[in-house]
């Protein structure tokens, strides 16, 4: 196990470095000049040149790359060209919205999908099982912003129970307001994510329920739920955990659509705005943080899988654990 861990960490660092290089090169290969975001309608040639000098788009690429790598190692994510603010503190502020939104949605979805998926598998022949299967198809097919708009219409505009959007100006110091603003966005993500996860859980559970060892456990007198918990759950979870890692990672930035519908100042909206303005430090900063988080989530998912499934441990690491 330690040998595997070490190899995995090295791989993580290398992937991260490669991703940073790709981000840097791709951004600068895109057409458009970051200086444009700084110009007004009547900008003169001098103002255009001054803007270019300010954003450094007149410096050689290698110099820019070296400078940036040096900055990242010291956790200096630089300052926004347009806003002038420090990128890292701004990302932290945005994470204060995006992380709770993503994590709470994720946890609720996993719990709900786990339960519903299991029931759908166990009752797969009945009307209930078929209905779940059908509903989950619909849940995957509908666009997430449509779900959001529907929830806003029903619960914010018609019923008036929750705000239609926005995040409290005082942030987490008014937790009641924060919870109230996050209910509908979380519900939106939960509906879509649960629908997707239910299918995986259902399939994995069906596979396990069909297996010999489950039948043997039941034959020996164990209840269905007990047998599943003791024998089936670990086997069913292995494929599902990979999916969970992917879903969590994609929700971090995928939440941008939900953030737009509900006007939440999250990481996704920071990124899209920075892209429109060619604000390289902000774009790079957000991509560095999210790439790291995605790689870390993948890494954790791998470790969890190995912990759960002894077969994975011994077959790949070569040593007995």
């Amino acid at each position: 196990m330690p040998g595997y861990l070490l190899r995995r960490v090295v791989f993580l660092v290398l992937s991260f470095a490669l991703a940073m290089l790709v981000i840097f090169v791709l951004l600068r290969a895109l057409p458009g000049d970051p200086a444009n975001a700084l110009l007004g309608a009547d900008a003169t040639d001098e103002q255009i040149a001054a803007a270019r000098a300010q954003v450094g788009s007149d410096q050689p690429l290698l110099a820019q790359l070296v400078g940036w790598i040096g900055d990242i190692t010291r956790l200096h994510l630089g300052q926004s060209f347009v806003g002038g603010y420090s990128v890292l503190p701004e990302i932290v502020d945005r994470l204060a919205v995006t992380l709770p939104l993503t994590l709470i949605s994720f946890l609720i979805s996993v719990a709900a999908a786990g339960l519903i998926g299991y029931l759908a598998a166990v009752r797969s022949e009945s009307f209930f099982g078929v209905a779940i299967s059908g509903l989950s198809q619909i849940g995957i097919a509908v666009p997430v912003f449509w779900v959001g708009i529907l929830l806003v219409w029903i619960f914010a505009l018609e019923a008036g129970w929750f705000p239609s959007g926005g995040f409290p100006a005082d942030g987490w110091s008014t937790p009641g307001d924060v919870v109230s603003s996050l209910v509908l966005p979380v519900a939106t993500i939960v509906i879509v994510m649960t629908a997707s996860l239910v299918r995986y859980v259902r399939t994995a559970t069906l596979d396990v329920l069909d297996s010999d060892y489950m039948r043997n456990a039941r034959a020996l007198g164990a209840g269905r739920w007990e047998a599943f918990l003791r024998h089936g759950l670990r086997n069913a979870s292995v494929p599902v955990i990979s999916i969970l890692g992917i879903e969590l990672a994609s929700t971090l930035l995928g939440a941008v659509v939900v953030e737009s519908v509900f006007s939440l100042p999250g990481l996704g909206s920071m990124l899209t705005k920075a892209i429109a303005q060619h604000d390289y430090p902000s774009i790079q900063g957000v991509l560095v943080v999210t790439t790291f988080l995605v790689l870390a989530i993948g890494f954790l998912a791998d470790i969890v899988q190995r912990i759960i499934d002894p077969r994975l441990r011994s077959s790949l690491s070569g040593a007995q654990s």
Binding site: D33, S164, A169, D170
Partner: protein, 501 residues
Amino acid sequence: MSRAMPLRQCTVIAVLALVTAFTLIGCGGGRNADGADAVIELGSLYEPGNLSNVDAGGQGVTEAFSGNVYEGLLKLNDDGSISKLLAKDYQVSADGLTYTFTLRDGVKFHSGKPLVAADVKSSFERVTAESSQAARKSSYEVVQTVDVPDDRTVVFHLSSRSISFPYLLSYVWIVNPQLSDPKSQADGTGPYKFQSWRRGSTLSIVRNDDYWGERPKNGGATFHYFTDSNAQTNALLSKQIDLIVNVQSPDTLAQFDKQAGFQVTEGTSTTKELLAFNDRVKPFDNVLVRRAVYSAIDREKLLKAIWGGRGKTIGSMVPPTDPWFEDLVHLNPYDPALSKRLLAEAGLPDGFTFTLLTPNYDPHPTVAEFLKSELAKIGVTVNIEIITADQWSTRVFEEHDFEATLQEHVNDRDVVWYANPDFYWGYNNEQVQQLVKRAESAETADQQVDLLKQANRIIAGEAASAWLYLYPQIVIARDTISGFPVNGLNSQFYVYDITKS
């Protein structure tokens, strides 16, 4: 039996969670006070890039701060007139080259520092500095030196007469020179202090209780920024905000026309939708061709299709709030028969083809489609090429690599840009350039108005561009709100007279 336990435990936990959640929701912050201390909640689509108007903060910073947090020596009013603000009085020398301003007494910045003449000089130099991206920066080059003979007097020495100088000064914010970071902090003299800015969400300003002038009628204002206009509309419908500053989407209006409890106010904007020709290249270097294209477009129909009867058709670059406005729609009337005759006269009886560079955001793609079908009727084929705002800046604005394009221009008093042959549309008319120069050196405002009207008639008569329509300036507010500005000059939005009952 062992199966039932987990279920009961789960139920208990779920119920506890729900109860906690609802209690927290119930304990959420209460709504604001009414009356004189009320905080006005405004909705806007234009979030500032930063808090400085010389560092490309954008129109959002003008909207939130001009007149509210920062003031100038002079102020541009909602009706287009100029009045004294931080300047108690000013004198102009007979030759028009020296402006002497006397500052008001007793004015302090929000940090407590008293306003002195040196602060005015440093604020002016901020605008003209090399790194400044202030609007109209080149216009300030007419100032040779700024003197500060004493704490209450500022003297501007100009190299030539400039009748617009007082107007130009209304854009110069008087900023505390000791402010270390104008992009994220603010220190002005205005009726409100900057409180906080949560990027991507809200910007708050609160009443300055030490303000030198008339006390604002409310306790403060919070700007809520949206990227999606539907989200903004929903916020107003659910009463999370009190008004929408500038409605950009006509669909929104339909929802509110039927709703009780809201008022829809239409004022005059300074935003013009243009079909801009590249006057340097064929065939648009020919006046006859430009006039032909202009007269083939039914602007009333276009305006009705997009704004349903709101807004105004215009025949020139001058909006109604500019002092030299006159209605010149008749110079290029909608007359497809005239268009065909003009094209024939220009030697293009079978029409021609051109590429229209169209920005990808509303309303330009819709306008482009309309133009395509209108111009097809006179034999002109339009190839629509959709581009991003960024590509527009590079290809059209900087490189002048286009035949024709669509664009909205939001500034007031911008007809003088037609006197600059290097501006992106490349209109080059000696007579206009002379008239504009003389207008700037005019001795009285009336002379300026007269000369600019003459220039405008030429520009419009030659269809330097095709000015399609003037956007309406629409504010939607709850019935409990009054006192908001109705015209939107240059995006400023004074909040100090707004009351919430």
